[in-house]
């Protein structure tokens, strides 16, 4: 076989790999949505779950998913952005900075079940919160943290240094320059990062089983953060492996489709706000 023939075969194989990857994803989507969409109805999305009989919905779970996500961002955004700003603007080459960088890296590699156990230990037991929406949100915040630190730092570093100089030369304090120039200019990157984290957090389950719990409040919607708060992804796992309801399979398929749609929406949304902002900032150029 000549090297030219090998080249041709290799090219064909690589094309095949590319197509296979896309086909695999396509098959996944069709399978999940095909099985799940027929299960979706307004009633399914908004009504409360059943313990033993069929026909339960996932309303509270869907609500809890977003509520916990919202609370976790509320906790992790200020700290994550603060640490990101520190790394981008203030950090000197010293031991403290190295420590922070290693910590961010280490934190992003922690398996989510370990976060879950930590949250169970600290929030559910030591703080005595039991299984609660707040405990779940606090633990989930730890998962978001490293991503937020990273995107904030990257976003701010990508802002031209000339903006920073210009602001300081006009007599601004560093904080004024950060607040009025750096962060607004870095916002598209930061928002993309937040959307990415949110998608991931919505699908997260191992963290929440032993922090937010496996059942829902009797009220719906229940904004009390100290109430137990199972989320949609946890519910999907729960009905599939532990639940007694006869329509567990349908509920799981419906929940999976719902989750996937949410993730798809977040993935599609990623580009939009940053593109609009970019346009506003650059005057449509």
């Amino acid at each position: 076989m000549t090297s030219k023939q090998i080249d041709r075969i290799a090219t064909a194989v690589l094309w095949l790999a590319g197509i296979l990857i896309i086909a695999l994803l396509g098959w996944f989507l069709i399978r999940i949505l095909g099985d799940g969409l027929p299960q979706l109805s307004w009633k399914f999305i908004t009504s409360k779950p059943q313990e033993i009989s069929a026909g339960g919905g996932v309303g509270p779970q869907l609500f809890n998913s977003f509520y916990i996500l919202f609370l976790s961002l509320l906790l992790s955004l200020p700290i994550g952005m603060g640490a990101g700003i520190y790394l981008a603007v203030y950090a000197k080459k010293n031991g403290f900075t190295d420590l922070i960088r290693i910590s961010v890296e280490a934190l992003s590699s922690v398996p989510s079940i370990v976060f879950g156990l930590f949250g169970y230990l600290l929030f559910a037991n030591l703080f005595g919160w039991k299984f609660s929406i707040l405990g779940g949100a606090c633990t989930l915040a730890l998962l978001n943290l490293p991503v937020l630190v990273r995107v904030t730092e990257e976003g701010i570093r990508a802002v031209p240094a000339s903006y920073w100089e210009a602001s300081l030369a006009l007599g601004s304090t560093k904080w004024q320059a950060i607040r009025k120039v750096l962060v607004p200019a870095a916002l598209p990157t930061i928002i993309t990062g937040i959307t990415l984290t949110s998608g991931r957090a919505l699908g997260e389950s191992a963290i929440l089983i032993y922090t937010a719990g496996l059942s829902v409040s009797r009220m719906f919607p229940d904004f009390n953060p100290m109430k137990i708060g199972e989320t949609l992804s946890v519910h999907l796992w729960y009905v599939q492996s532990e639940a007694l309801v006869p329509d567990a399979k349908q509920i799981a398929q419906g929940s999976a489709a719902l989750l996937l749609i949410v993730v798809l929406v977040f993935n599609l949304l990623i580009g939009i706000p940053s593109r609009i902002l970019q346009k506003r900032l650059t005057g449509g150029k």
């Binding site: 007599g171 601004s172 200019a185 449509g284 150029k285």
Partner: protein, 253 residues
């Protein structure tokens, strides 16, 4: 006596780590003059300019000895508030660097960070600054459009207007026309002549014709030393130092 000079630099030395970048600089600059700093690249003229409003403070490992006084006040004194200093001694950079905001917000940025909030006052400052920078007529209909949509020359005049809005009295210009086309350069040069009536201007330039055209006094820097300072026409016709003459006649650099 020192009180009489707008800016008085004495025994100024600057080190980047082990690199001794400026040696014993002595210089005085009077009010309402344009002082040009010339010299080959790497001679320290830009570094010197940045010592005047302490922009070198942003770089790690910079050490400065000696004194720089503006209106008799030591810029490097312990009691000096760096923010107040930069408000008084403003800077225009080599490349135009408008913020990614509207033209209006760019000009209003300075006044806003210094505590002006009233819309009417800001409107007035924006118009006055743009007029001073000879930009008003070109942009008055698009104040809310992004400043990044302006041409390079307009952007640089916008940056000058942005600086004027904080009412400094010394303007530092670091090769302000090096990124501009000849027509925009001419406009900025004309602008410096009108600004001179109200401000003291120190301009770094690599363009000797420019220094000759616009400045009253010229200082020649070489390898971190200030070789000589004199009236501009003297420097360009009959300099005291042989090295200055060599540079001006194009024998090096």
């Amino acid at each position: 006596m020192t009180e009489r000079h707008k800016i008085n630099v004495s025994k100024l030395n600057l080190f980047y780590g082990d690199n001794h970048a400026l040696h014993d600089i002595e210089m005085t600059i009077e009010s309402n003059t344009i002082a040009a700093l010339i010299g080959p690249s790497g001679c320290g003229k830009s570094t010197f300019l940045r010592t005047l409003n302490r922009m070198n403070d942003l770089i790690d490992g910079v050490r400065i000895t000696g004194s720089v006084a503006v209106d008799g006040q030591n810029v490097y004194g312990p009691e000096t508030d760096i923010v107040s200093l930069r408000k008084r001694v403003g800077m225009v950079f080599q490349r135009p660097n408008p913020f990614p905001m509207s033209i209006y917000d760019n000009i209003a940025y300075g006044p806003r960070i210094h505590g002006t909030k009233k819309k009417a006052v800001l409107d007035e400052i924006v118009e006055r600054s743009l007029r001073q920078a000879a930009l008003w007529d070109e942009v008055k209909d698009r104040l809310n459009k992004s400043a990044l949509g302006l041409s390079g020359g307009q952007q640089q005049r916008l940056c000058i207007a942005r600086l004027l809005a904080v009412e400094p009295d010394v303007l530092l210009m670091d090769e302000p026309t090096s990124a501009l086309d000849p027509i925009s350069t001419l406009k900025v040069e004309e602008l410096t002549q009108t600004l001179k009536e109200r401000y003291t201007i120190i301009i770094v330039t690599h363009n000797m014709q420019q220094a000759a055209r616009i400045s009253d006094v010229t200082s020649f820097f070489l390898n971190g030393y200030l070789v000589e300072t004199d009236k501009t026409d003297k420097i360009f016709t009959n300099p005291n130092d042989q090295r200055t003459e060599d540079y001006i006649t194009g024998r090096f650099g």
